[in-house]
Symmetry: C2
């Protein structure tokens, strides 16, 4: 596997430049150089691109990769687009008839006005019962957080710890949108966005791209001396509208995708050294830890407040800063999670290196849990 | 393979109803009933859905299929979305770890105003050099047709024959948007849209959905006594902007996808009994015949004027009326082509049955040839 990444944030670069930068970075990461001529297929994860190439954008990816003339497919599952594109890319290399598959994720969100951006995002949630009733994603996650906070003591404090921890992790990631410390107190005192969630409980609107190069496992050593392997994949779905689900504080799509991924990888969750989870709002990180089976329902509060999920804890979560601090350019996010895992498992993560990282899990959610993809990686 | 289809046209039904109707039809087509509980994965092809679920729409498909909780992925490659979703679905069943895969295509185009629709469509072509310069898809195909007509005698007459033939075929398809005869003279005398193309050289704006159920070849007989097999797949891409290509009257993506599909199926083009090609404009049908290797460049004129591509000719093209007469609900089109082939190869096409149909080819194009998917089917 090779991997490239742009800075995340409010960027001057347009979507083509972002794609090219990420793809060039992925090729540059191949230890033995080359690879351009061995590309056999491509997948692009994006929701709105930059507003000017909403359809057929997979063809743009190949123009920027200077590989026009290959099969190329845009995969879109809202914020889980990247995780599903990764899955599609892995399936393509598993066939064994191509040497390299490119998986890229992109969003250029700050080029378009906030009304259109709200439309892009809104049309990824349920329309009939949520969007048209005025319920935004912050509102949906606010409802979920309300229920969670009412149910478990110290939950609000744990949410603040998620934000504070991920902001601290972001200070060690030069690609992160935010690279500043935010204290738990600052999180708790921030203006409300959707009660109980405040400003620092929400991820930002970011531009950015990430790219991966995947090879069949038996050919990985042709491209690198330190391959990273995808050992397990899981993907699932749920009803779009949260009101139609039996439980607000549980994402069945994550649970099902997680079970599949562990079964596929043939390992128990205790083998995982660190996680990249979809913390679009702080509450989402707590739910992920529970839905992925690392703790029982409600157990994420104590786990988080114990410091276990910090960069130096026993189960670091979002060492790159997560969506919260690194940023969340929709289509890029699932690919960016795999990029971080690529660096960590190769011991190339610099100041944020997780000690002894051998097995990692990525968890990417679309909408408020209507789609979810989980992937398990190892350094082989 | 099972297959379902809604009426195409200006429909009252919304996108959810269209999806449900097509999916129910696909399950109903399974000769031995059942199948719902054996569904393992789903793919949805759509460009703009109905304007209210542009992101995460693959989750809606599973709600309407009453199969929430499975992996589901939206595939979008503009007008070739359906062909690429079919390819993704075939790849999924080839793995052999699921029994049935659902591939659906949908577009609800008439629900949104023409400005937004123009935006949806426009953002599937090149933006920088075409859309922002005012060049629409009709304009691009008009440029291509101008060059073609200047180069080959009687080409304008052949274009009129394509329209007239496909309208005649549409009169025998109860699902077609248009079911009326249009003479060659009427085509030639129609108001110009983009010289030399007139009103009847252009496909309409339609609502509609289609769905397929795919099973691993070794399990097909569990579901049907008359299976249809996908023998070959090809997919490719090209530069978005036609000005960046060496030839206007040749689609490299079609050529490359066609070669792959024939190689994959292990057959020569002479084995194909009839074609479903992407006739978004009449010129596109002529180019397809040439790019797929059925005739040399320019040869589609004589072939078409000879009557060979009529329903009763030696190589019927678009027996269902094609995009021209059946309609072109963007995401549904590639899936609809496979539906027609399903009926024809099972000898269930009624008044439009192609005699002795054993092998058929589907050709689906995104944008003005920036993406293309080709599939070859047989009745086994």
């Amino acid at each position: 596997m090779g991997a490239g990444h742009t800075r995340f944030g409010v960027l001057e670069a347009g979507p083509r430049t972002l794609l090219r930068t990420a793809v060039d970075g992925a090729f540059a990461s191949l230890d033995h150089g080359g690879g351009r001529n061995e590309l056999g297929e491509a997948f692009l994860a994006t929701l709105g691109f930059g507003g000017w190439q909403i359809g057929n954008s997979a063809a743009v990816l190949l123009e920027e990769a200077t590989s026009v003339g290959l099969p190329t497919t845009r995969v879109e599952n809202a914020c889980a687009s990247g995780g599903f594109a990764l899955r599609a890319g892995v399936r393509a290399v598993e066939r064994g008839d191509v040497d390299l598959v490119l998986v890229a994720g992109l969003e250029k969100m700050t080029d378009v006005g906030s009304a259109r951006r709200r439309y892009w995002l809104g049309v990824s949630g349920d329309t009939e019962w949520e969007r048209l009733a005025g319920l935004t994603f912050a509102g949906v996650y606010g409802l979920i957080a309300s229920e969670y906070v009412a149910r478990y003591p110290r939950a609000r404090e744990a949410l603040a710890e998620v934000a504070s921890k991920n902001h601290e992790n972001g200070t060690r990631n030069p690609n992160a949108h935010f690279q500043k410390l935010v204290s738990r107190e600052a999180v708790l005192e921030a203006p409300r966005v959707a009660d109980p969630l405040g400003l620092y409980d929400c991820c930002p609107v970011s531009d950015g791209a990430a790219a991966l190069l995947l090879a069949p496992a038996d050919r990985a050593h042709r491209y690198t001396d330190t391959p990273v392997f995808v050992d397990g994949l899981g993907a699932s779905s749920d009803r779009l509208a949260v009101q139609e689900r039996p439980e607000l504080t549980r994402f069945e799509a994550t649970r099902s995708a997680g079970r599949q991924a562990f079964r596929d990888a043939g390992i128990e969750s205790s083998r995982v050294n660190f996680l990249e989870v979809h913390d679009c709002f702080t509450i989402a990180e707590l739910l992920a830890l529970e839905d992925l089976g690392f703790v029982e329902p409600g157990g994420a509060v104590d786990l988080t407040l114990s410091g276990a999920t910090r960069a130096t804890g026993r189960l670091p979560v979002n060492p790159d800063g997560g969506l919260k601090s690194k940023g969340h350019p929709i289509g890029a996010t699932g690919v960016s999670q795999a990029y971080e895992i690529f660096l960590q498992l190769r011991a190339e993560a610099g100041a944020r290196q997780v000690a002894g990282a051998e097995v990692a899990l990525a968890h990417n959610v679309g909408g408020a849990g209507a789609t979810a993809a989980v992937s398990i990686f190892s350094r082989g």
